[in-house]
């Protein structure tokens, strides 16, 4: 079956090409297990400790990203079914099921094989499922598991006792790494990596803030998802830092040439929630048909709320890592999350908010209905709530979703001018 979205062009491509290359190289490196390979650490995106483990010579695998790569390539279902056959219920997070299914099936992904972990780092930063997932991996592989307990973010800025707690754990983590690798901690190396991270983060923030322009030269949800790979997976490397220069150049070129992700920008959106990866193109296409472009989104912030000032700082290595970990998007209390979304809507001059709920992700989703209610009734922002899954193609009902989107955009259109507006053609 071809999805209508499949034929749609990705838009300007040089950064996309570079990103594709980075993805391929990364997986090729991982798969290259011929000789003595680098040790591998499995990590979670939210509040991750990439720089620290990289400074000890580890390569990093993010099962969440592997899972979304599988889903977007329509290869998640067999993994999910395999996990279900082992007893994982229908309601368990699709990322978990994809990963554990895939591990049982030998680690095959659309890009290459994933090596098993030598170290498991569970940054408990925003999702309780992380703990369960890493427990299952630890039980399967029997390798060391480090749980970094990251306090939930309940104030605008982390409190000093929270930072102290996380930093104390980071020091214990470093001691663990020294013991397991036999290497001693190289503070200079960590600083160099954090400097690369800092540069990448600043570039990423610049890219995302381009959505403020009218029309927006970027697609802050669908396109940004492609550009998230370096900031999440390759952080700490020069390649990641340089990538955002390419992105920068491209955005500038687009503005100059008047090339926009949606040729005629009709609706500016803030999008909240994890994308429906198995139907990514179809979903994106539903938006494009209405001339809707996301100018800001929360999902690209799962790796870190860099735009809110939580950047890595080579001069305060562990403290800045601790702050960064606490500020992971899903580790924000609902009060903070709500305010952030409303501020995006205001600052990026959005017409509406679209929330995509994930049936199997409670961390993101539980309470999105209340968010919707708050946006509509207390902020006066039209808001659409849609629901499917980030991994499981069985939960995407295209007709239903399209019907809701059509109705929503119809009503937005009509509310802006109650007279003549084009009807949707068949």
């Amino acid at each position: 079956m071809t999805h209508p979205g499949e034929e749609v062009e990705d838009g300007p491509t040089s950064a996309r090409e570079q990103q594709r290359r980075l993805v391929e190289e990364y997986y090729a490196d991982l798969a290259d297990a011929g000789g003595p390979r680098k040790p591998v650490a499995y990590m979670l995106v939210g509040g991750n400790l990439t720089e620290i483990v990289r400074s000890f010579g580890y390569e990093v695998v993010f099962p969440e990203i592997v899972a979304l790569n599988c889903a977007i390539k329509h290869e998640s279902l067999p993994n999910i079914l395999h996990a279900e056959a082992q007893g994982y219920g229908l309601d368990v997070c699709g990322y978990v099921k994809n990963d554990l299914g895939l591990q049982e099936l030998g680690g095959k992904t659309p890009f290459g094989r994933i090596p098993p972990p030598d170290l498991l780092v569970c940054s408990f930063s925003g999702c309780y499922v992380y703990i369960k997932w890493w427990e299952a991996l630890a039980e399967k592989y029997g390798c060391p598991l480090f749980v970094l307990d990251v306090p939930y973010m309940r104030d605008e800025r982390p409190r000093s006792e929270e930072i102290e707690y996380v930093v104390a754990q980071l020091n214990e983590f470093i001691a663990l790494l020294e013991r397991t690798t036999g290497r001693s901690f190289d503070r200079g190396e960590l600083r160099r990596m954090l400097a690369h991270s800092r540069k990448a983060e600043e570039g990423w923030v610049r890219y995302l803030s381009a959505g403020r322009r009218r029309p927006s030269p970027i697609e802050a949800y669908f396109e940004a998802v492609f550009y998230m790979f370096p900031i999440n997976v390759l952080r700490g490397t020069a390649a990641a830092a340089d990538f955002y220069d390419t992105v920068d150049a491209e955005v500038t070129a687009r503005v100059r040439a008047g090339e926009y992700p949606v040729p005629e920008e009709k609706v500016r959106l803030v999008v909240e929630g994890v994308p429906p990866y198995p139907s990514y193109r179809t979903f994106w296409d539903f938006f494009r048909r209405w001339g809707a472009v996301s100018v800001a989104a929360t999902y690209p912030k799962v790796g870190g709320l860099f735009d809110q000032g939580f950047l890595h700082d080579p001069d305060r290595p562990l403290e800045s890592i601790a702050e960064y970990s606490m500020a992971a998007y899903v580790n924000q209390s609902w009060g903070l999350r709500r305010r952030l979304i409303a501020s995006y809507a205001k600052e990026f001059e959005a017409d509406a908010v679209v929330i995509h709920g994930i049936k199997s992700c409670r961390s993101f989703t539980a309470g999105q209905g209340d968010l919707r209610d708050w946006l509509i009734h207390e902020q006066g922002i039209p808001t659409l709530y849609l629901e499917s899954d980030h991994e499981d193609p069985r939960y995407f009902a295209p007709a239903q979703i399209k019907n809701r989107m059509d109705a929503f955009f119809e009503s937005l259109d009509r509310r802006r001018s109650t007279v003549s507006l084009p009807m949707v053609g068949a």
Binding site: Y385, Q400, N403, R404, S411, R414, R415, T418, M423, A426
Partner: protein, 262 residues
């Protein structure tokens, strides 16, 4: 003097309404079958013969409902959410909230003073709590769905219907029948269960008077009564309630014609 038609191809029924000079001058209602294009054509043809007009008199045909893209002979398509809002506003201009319960889904729609949709919410999980649910349960009680409306009157001890699944609710109903429960109480239990699901949807958009109840299930007076009681508010129901979507569609076509003179 403009005659316009709205064709609403739902999951269960095909409806057509003809409007002229702000009046509904013809209508038709049929079950949908497997050939939706034909059903749509038939809906229009029957409405025309109901009104005594000719096909060529119709200035615009607008399709709505799940099968709106099957109204291939029409000029426009609009979602049924927009149409129910517009149709309800037409029939009851003070409408602020529309509850539409059709064969397969339930929608709560909030509208502004012009009948424009501000917000809406739909059931998402399954067919539970919709017209189909009633059809199936009516069957289990040995009635047709068109007969069960008045039967819950005088229920004393409504049963609890907790199954969220239409199919299992059917067996829950059968088991109540087998246990000799009064059909009154069973129906009251069913209505209560559908209404409480609808309230949860209404809650999402916020309840404000006036509330207008549309869609095929609004023809069931037991449902209307239960809804009124649970909301504690008057609820508008038109004799044309099942046609509200089609009426709204026709009006959309009219508006469109007026906006873009041919």
């Amino acid at each position: 003097m403009t005659l316009v038609a709205g064709v609403d191809i739902g999951s269960t029924t095909a409806k057509c309404a003809l409007i002229e000079d702000g009046k509904v001058v013809g209508r038709s209602l049929n079950p949908v079958g497997v050939e939706l294009v034909k059903d749509a054509e038939r809906a229009l043809a029957l409405a025309l013969s109901d009104s005594g007009r000719e096909r060529r008199d119709v200035r615009a045909v607008t399709g709505t409902g799940y099968g709106r893209f099957k109204v291939t002979f029409g000029q426009f398509t609009v979602t049924e959410i927009g149409c129910h809002a517009k149709g309800a506003h037409f029939l009851f201009p003070a409408t602020r909230v529309v509850l539409d319960i059709g064969g397969q889904d339930t929608k709560a729609i909030k509208v502004d003073a012009n009948g424009v949709v501000i917000d809406f919410a739909m059931n998402d999980k399954c067919a539970a709590g919709t017209g189909r649910f009633l059809d199936v349960c009516a069957g289990a009680l040995g009635y047709d769905v068109s007969e069960i409306g008045p039967l819950s009157l005088g229920a004393r001890r409504p049963v609890k219907v907790t199954n969220t699944c239409t199919v299992f609710a059917e067996s829950e109903v059968s088991s109540y029948v087998a246990r000799g429960k009064d059909p009154k109480d069973i129906l009251a239990g069913l209505y209560g269960s559908i209404v409480s699901r609808s309230l949860s949807l209404l809650q999402r958009v916020g309840v404000e008077p006036e509330v207008t109840f549309t869609g095929g299930v609004s023809r069931n007076e037991g449902m209307v009564r239960t809804l009124r009681a649970r909301l504690g508010l008057p609820v508008n129901v038109s004799p044309l309630s099942q046609f509200v979507g089609a009426i709204g569609a026709a009006l959309y076509g009219l508006e469109r014609l007026e906006a873009v003179p041919a």
